[in-house]
Symmetry: C2
Subunit: 290 residues, 2 copies
């Protein structure tokens, strides 16, 4: 075997990076959705396509796939038996399917101790202390993902209805939201009957915008989110001196708001999640295997 | 015209009460779902059927329908143009379609000043002060219905996941909930992908049960619900000396928990919502018309 491959696959796209046994990337490829929970064979097709494109990018042919071993970080790999199912049908020499959060952790902090907080449309946390990897959150916005863009957006719509009813004071932010819905609370409710997490999350920038203007509703919503994030970090309990990386679309928005306990730990991520998959693959299957 | 009719229609059933022009009920009937938002012609059929059964119960024939005027309290009548649409196709001499909350208010406190809080799977509030009728809440549990059975149940599942992750302390209640899902948080999440308000609301009795045992999680959830209910009551601002009726499945559970401001106002409802529809019909179309 001459090559290893890293795969980062989720609901919207699948990316692959081919590397030598030393972990040095020599080719990249990308394809469509790789959602193992809703479309296992489609996910396999996207994974193979991204891998073949990475081989082609390195000037190599698809016949090398069965001689290449890979680490695949796939969204949904923590639920049910999807990880084992997809491992069983992949064409690689050897495959290790892990969660998208685990390759993000590896990419961000490397193979040593450290922690990540993924702060995007959803929220999830992961840490490594010695041999122990611990995961918190990532349960989706209906009964989880506290502090996420989806929860911030949902909170905003809830506050808007309460303001309309006179239960809380209206502010420029709730007025602006209600105006989007023609000042009709029934249209706000209608929106929620089919809204997906990303639809709610689309309101998060507007909330942060109004924080800057001192809007009381915005301040309340973001403080609630900040406290939720701190509560999860406290449960993760990162050790002093170990890196803590904030990832996801809201990372830069929350970084300056974290309390003094976490500020000294904050580091920019070393690599992205795909880079994490590649270095895990090199460690497991390449020259650096332990 | 010799008779008036009251109708109480919602997603699960439709009830009718026929009365003389003095509002005295002489016949009753019931039929299936009357959901004007999802099935307008089916709702009309259920309304007509319940009305004909009420006529039959009084020993009268269906040919009297076009000589009978009615007040119909229908769930969903506050959204869009459904109320006007159904009014246009009903076979009564005259029809007045109002919300289910309005006939509940009329039934509970009569035609004078007063307020109701409907505390069930959802929550909604309505008050009358002179000629002004005011409605609060009733927006559904996704971004509304604070304090409802559905929100209590959803809060419980959220607390259960947080306890599983070590973000909040586990208690006998969260342990019991997790055990229902084979101690697998993924099964809790799976439940929420298709759970309806009533499915979440099914957990409310379990929460109240654990309040009695001093469970910290249960106490926190119910106190949050109580505060939400008080906030809506404060916005309603019922006048001293006017009746306040708590209706719905959780009325008796919350009544003793309300603050001193509202305790002196609490009254048992005079009649149910169907009774309210009948007396509104007698007032509008019968001898008591004003």
């Amino acid at each position: 075997m001459a090559f290893v491959i890293g795969i980062d696959g989720g609901g919207t796209s699948c990316r692959a990076a081919l590397a030598g046994l030393d972990g040095k990337v020599i080719g990249r490829g990308a394809s469509g959705s790789a959602n193992i929970r809703t479309d296992l064979s489609g996910a396999r097709a996207s994974i193979v396509k991204a891998a073949e494109l990475a081989l082609a990018d390195a000037g190599l042919g698809p016949e090398l796939l069965p001689q290449t071993s890979g680490v695949l970080g796939l969204a949904g790999a923590n639920v049910g038996t999807y990880a084992q199912q997809v491992e069983a049908i992949l064409p690689f020499a050897a495959s290790r399917v892990v969660t998208d959060a685990l390759i993000a952790l590896e990419g961000a902090v490397g193979s040593g101790d450290g922690a990540i907080a993924i702060l995007g449309t959803g929220t999830a946390y992961m840490s490594r202390k010695g041999t122990e990897v611990r995961s918190i959150g990532g349960w989706g916005f209906i009964i989880g993902d506290q502090g996420s863009g989806a929860r911030i957006g949902r909170d905003l719509l809830e506050e808007t209805l309460l303001a309309h009813d006179g239960v809380v004071a209206a502010t420029p932010l709730t007025d602006a939201v209600l105006a989007i819905y023609r000042n009709d609370p029934r249209d706000v409710v209608e929106f929620t009957t089919s809204a997906k997490p990303g639809d709610y999350g689309g309101f998060a920038p507007m909330v942060f915008d109004h924080v800057g203007k001192g809007d009381e509703t915005a301040l309340r919503i973001i403080e609630r989110a900040r406290q939720a994030i701190e509560a999860s970090l406290a449960a993760l309990d990162p050790a002093p001196g170990t890196p803590l990386c904030l990832l996801g679309g809201m990372a830069q928005l929350f970084a300056p708001r974290l309390s003094k306990r976490y500020q000294p730990l904050l580091r920019p991520p070393l690599h992205d999640a795909l880079g994490g998959a590649v270095s895990m693959a090199a460690r497991l299957f390449g020259e650096r295997q332990s």
